[in-house]
């Protein structure tokens, strides 16, 4: 068994603006770490420094924080956005996050941003292109980054491998980590008719740094990754399966739209704890029985 590259920080949450005050006053006991969206705290392209940054500094004093970006645009044919990376590095230097993550996707091309996470072609040529790019990004940032699988609604005809084969090879070639979004796996499994367990089983576990749990919407028979609903039962089952079969990883609830009040959101965090504690108890029983 290979040594895990990332520490397990426990169960956390994506900290969004409606709940920032909650965290500034006192970190809820159910939370062991938090994730923030990098772009909300980075200096703007115009140089404007957002006031939210000082809130992040204060939160960081109280708990471990991961930076999660949506605009690194790794999969784009455009070269690396040096200005973006510079601003991200400045933020990382001030905050000292537990890690930095972004998505396996492209968000724009030709200097224009679509502000969406569009899948990359799963080809050998792209594997080489992306691994070189990630290596350069990690070199610049001075740390290993985590790459998240996205939900997708289409597949390119030139695909030479499955998404999970691509992720395995890419992360090994680029020596980066994986942010495993279980909801995204589930959404794509329905939209492209595959078994989500096949995906989970093939992931190089030593590279998994973090797990996202989120909700989605159902539209005309397909699923859309809206992050505006509670985590669905199928995704909870996949999380439990992951904990039982693959081990425990830093995990969190991600909610970006329709954000409920803290008490409501915390119910999902408590459920994640409950699943984890349940799986640990099962293990303990098995160990006791085997002695």
């Amino acid at each position: 068994m290979k040594q895990k590259l990332f520490k397990n920080y426990g169960i956390g949450v994506g900290i969004r603006s409606p709940h920032v005050m909650q965290f500034l006053n006192e970190v809820p006991k159910s939370i062991e770490w938090g994730e923030v969206v990098s772009e909300n705290y980075m200096n703007w392209q115009s140089g404007l420094k957002p006031k939210a940054f000082s809130n992040l500094e204060k939160m960081r004093e109280k708990l471990p924080v991961a930076l999660h970006g949506v605009s690194m645009n790794i999969g784009s044919a455009d070269p690396i956005d040096a200005d973006y990376l510079k601003r991200l590095k400045e933020l990382a230097n001030s905050i000292e996050p537990i890690w930095i993550s972004d998505h396996l996707c492209w968000t724009g091309v030709d200097g224009e941003n679509i502000h969406d996470l569009i899948p990359v072609p799963f080809t050998k040529e792209n594997l080489k292109y992306l691994s070189d790019k990630i290596l350069k990004i990690q070199d610049f940032l001075g740390q290993r980054i985590l790459i998240e699988n996205v939900s997708s609604y289409f597949e390119y005809t030139n695909a030479e491998m499955t998404e999970w084969q691509f992720i395995k090879e890419l992360t090994e070639k680029a020596d980066c980590g994986i942010l495993l979004d279980i909801n995204n796996i589930y959404v794509s499994s329905i939209n492209h008719s595959f078994n989500p367990i096949d995906f989970l089983k093939s992931i190089p576990l030593e590279r998994v740094g973090q797990i996202h749990l989120a909700g989605h919407s159902v539209k005309d028979g397909y699923l859309i990754d809206t992050h505006d609903q509670p985590v669905c039962e199928e995704v909870w089952k996949l999380f439990q399966w992951t904990e039982q079969n693959l081990g425990f990883f830093t995990s969190m609830i991600e909610r970006d739209g329709n954000i409920p009040d803290w008490r409501e959101l915390e119910k999902e965090i408590l459920r994640a704890h409950e699943i984890r504690n349940g799986v640990k108890s099962e293990f303990a029983k098995k160990i006791t029985a085997s002695i």
């Binding site: 392209q45 044919a77 455009d78 724009g108 091309v109 609604y153 030139n158």
Partner: protein
């Protein structure tokens, strides 16, 4: 042009502006009996438009109302804006700065003023906090030195015009505050924001008392955050 760039340019077009079925069906996508290529692309097309519409609506609620009132069709105006001004920003919040300019170039004064005013409010809301200084510290400088000083205002301070009125925008207790001000005050604050020193400002105004009145007003609101030589 490499094949990846060619592919991505095609998809960018399909998501942002070319919704012709013939073009969408020509894209190299897998199709299933369950969902056609067009249905699959529509998810991205809708998301692109809705995400940006929501972000703009959050920043420009009054301008949205004004567009509905004066133009009737908000959606077609927004689509036009998106087609003419694709985002080149990493952050949707920052992309909003282009919205007022869209009306400016079309010479739509009311919409421009409304959007520009709301954009300034966004900056006032977003800018980081700096602690105010005590204006009494000026007394440590000689008269000669005072003339060479530049005042640094809080990063949230903005000036704006709307209708016949001039405004000073700032944050008070974390809330965006908009105070109507007179033309002299507007000009003087503008000169401070431009980075002119006290000597240069005095040269351009009719009475030094005006300047002291403005300093006192800015200081009482905690908006002077630095003095530079």
């Amino acid at each position: 042009m490499n094949s990846l760039k060619k592919l991505q340019l095609q998809f960018k077009e399909a998501i942002t502006k070319n919704f012709e079925p013939e073009f969408l069906n020509s894209l190299p996508l897998r199709e299933t009996a369950q969902f056609s290529k067009i249905q699959r692309l529509k998810v991205y097309q809708n998301a692109y438009f809705l995400r940006i519409e929501e972000s703009l609506e959050e920043d420009f609620p009054e301008t949205f109302e004004l567009i509905k009132k004066t133009k009737g069709d908000l959606r077609s105006q927004l689509r036009k804006f998106l087609k003419e001004n694709p985002s080149k920003f990493n952050n949707l919040g920052e992309y909003s700065q282009i919205f007022p300019l869209f009306f400016d170039v079309k010479n739509e004064r009311d919409l421009y003023e409304s959007a520009n005013f709301e954009w300034k409010k966004c900056i006032t809301f977003t800018a980081h906090h700096k602690k105010a200084i005590d204006i009494a510290t000026l007394s440590q400088y000689s008269e000669e030195e005072i003339l060479t000083l530049k005042m640094e205002l809080h990063p949230a301070v903005q000036l704006a015009t709307k209708g016949d009125h001039l405004y000073l925008l700032y944050r008070a207790d974390s809330e965006v505050t908009t105070d109507k001000i007179d033309l002299n005050s507007y000009k003087i604050i503008d000169m401070i924001l431009e980075g002119l020193n006290i000597s240069k400002i005095v040269e351009r105004i009719s009475s030094p008392e005006e300047l002291f009145r403005i300093f006192a007003m800015l200081s009482s609101r905690g908006l002077i955050v630095g003095i530079q030589k």
